[in-house]
């Protein structure tokens, strides 16, 4: 579904990614792990079209997408949930969902049903300004919003960062419900979550893929993975 080959990305003169290659099959959930500054977020931003690669290719469903704009990525079924948990805070929760529904052409009621079936409590907050939601609720709204339309590939940056354990559990539960339906590339440091959801792990180190893990036994070896964080 998504194939990246020999990708180089730079911020000005500073190279952030070196010769990155990875491959994600349809329905798979791949995790990018690594220390801060390893290039995980940069890689997601490049896939979604926010950064243009110096060289290499990003092929999605057989088509080269590295030159496309973020809006063209969306129309192709890619959804990006950024790290900052930024909802449109002055819009209501309902309007936050509506804006995604209009973009995808999905009827608003259907979009609302889809998101409230994932997280029923959101029904009580539909008229609330999204800025008043807690961090966890915002993250769920963002993930829910990414599911509006027919997403094919989710790109989620640190979905559990700064959230309480119980909220993380909720997010893991939502994402595990999506397994096999939607492909995902998730940047995450929470190895318990990685262990439960990952089909494939790419360990990034100093802008390079240090290791690719596909064996279940290795994915479950959280102690072994910890040394890369």
């Amino acid at each position: 579904m998504l194939e990246i080959k020999n990708l180089d990305v730079a911020y000005g003169h500073a190279k952030a990614l070196h010769d990155i290659s990875l491959n994600i099959e349809t329905g798979q959930t791949a995790f990018l792990i690594g220390r801060n500054g390893a290039g995980k977020t940069t890689l997601l931003k490049t896939i979604i079209g926010l950064l243009k690669p110096l060289k290499g290719s990003i092929t999605y469903q057989g088509n080269e997408i590295s030159a496309l704009s973020p809006e063209e990525h969306y129309l192709k079924g890619l959804r990006y949930v950024a790290q900052e948990k930024k909802v449109f805070s002055n819009l209501t929760v309902r309007e936050n969902i509506e804006i995604a529904a209009y973009a995808s052409g999905e009827p608003v009621d259907m979009a609302l049903d889809k998101i409230t079936s994932i997280y029923p409590k959101l029904k009580d907050f539909l008229k609330t300004k999204a800025g008043q939601l807690s961090g966890g609720q915002r993250q769920i709204l963002l993930v829910g919003r990414a599911l509006v339309g027919e997403p094919k590939l989710l790109l989620i940056d640190e979905p559990t960062q700064g959230l309480a354990a119980i909220v993380i559990e909720e997010i893991v539960s939502i994402l595990s419900g999506l397994r096999d339906k939607v492909s995902a590339v998730i940047v995450e440091q929470n190895l318990a979550m990685v262990n439960r959801l990952a089909d494939r792990i790419y360990i990034l180190k100093e802008g390079k893929v240090a290791r690719e893990i596909v064996e279940r036994s290795e994915i479950s070896d959280t102690r072994g993975l910890e040394e890369y964080l």
């Binding site: 973020p70 809006e71 959804r79 804006i99 995604a100 079936s117 008229k127 939502i174 419900g177």
Partner: protein, 345 residues
Amino acid sequence: MRSKESTLNKAPASHANPLNAYPMKEHGFIDFLVITAGFLLITPILSVHRVTDFMIFCIFVMSFDLMYGYMGRLSFGHMLFLGTGAYGSGLFIRYVSGNPLLAIMAGIAVAGLLGMLLGLIIVRTTGACFALINLAFNQIGFFLVLSPLRQITRGEDGFGVSASKLGFLNFGSRPIMFGFVLFCLLLVFYLLKRLTSSPFGIMLRSIKEDETRVRFLGYNTFLYKWLGFALAGSLAGLAGTLTALNYNYVNPNAMDVHSNVGVVFASLIGGAGTLYGALVGGVVYMVISNFLPIYIHRWEMFLGFSLLIITFRFRKGVWGYILSLWEYGIKKRLLRRSTEEVANR
């Protein structure tokens, strides 16, 4: 999906907005009554002609607010569109036809077309660049009507505008002009109220918050900004046509760059991003600018100080604080009710 209800689903009730239980009235009819009553009430104190002028300015402030309050783009050149509307309708009456309705349509169309044309360049920018490019175009427009086009516009002297009667629409009559401007104001209010709560309005408000994220959702934000800009221009053009008809005269002052200060002030005083804020701000600014000079020689200094105070202390504007008080009252009422319920148990 887990069957048991999670902790998130048991979020404290205080997280839900208590104001949802008391939604603001959304009925257009009530808005119309409130606005009409407001302007009718101040008319005996301020005179029909003056209140007509106030209402025209309010239309102008609403058009500015669409761009600044809703789309988040501050312009220092919105007078360009007011002036274009005034010259468009005035020249139409002078050279084409005295029909006032056609002249109004011509003024709106010319201002809208100018907005569409300039928007192609201007909406690609943001922040200070957006504000200053608008100012630059306003300045160009001002000097165009003042000098190179003076054969048509009569330069600094301007020209008289006398629209012919159209049935009962005799714009020479102050009450008729008042009624017509009030009708236009209500129409613009209704149009903008519908628009700002429509998908298009949601889009403009989202662009104000974070344009990049709107693009992540697959939108061509340029198109929405361009349409918003052109619409704001057309509505400012309407205010310009009404100014020309109200004063029966057009001169370069209708496009004066310095007058942009007024609309920015009005929007800040009333509270940007709300239509009622635009109306309140428009009236307050007009009262200040009409009456303060009688008592204070350098009244603009007072405006300067007011701007400093608003910017540092009262950013929500008059209407924003009225809404805050309303919310505070409801919260107090809910708290009292829950205290009573606990006491009764």
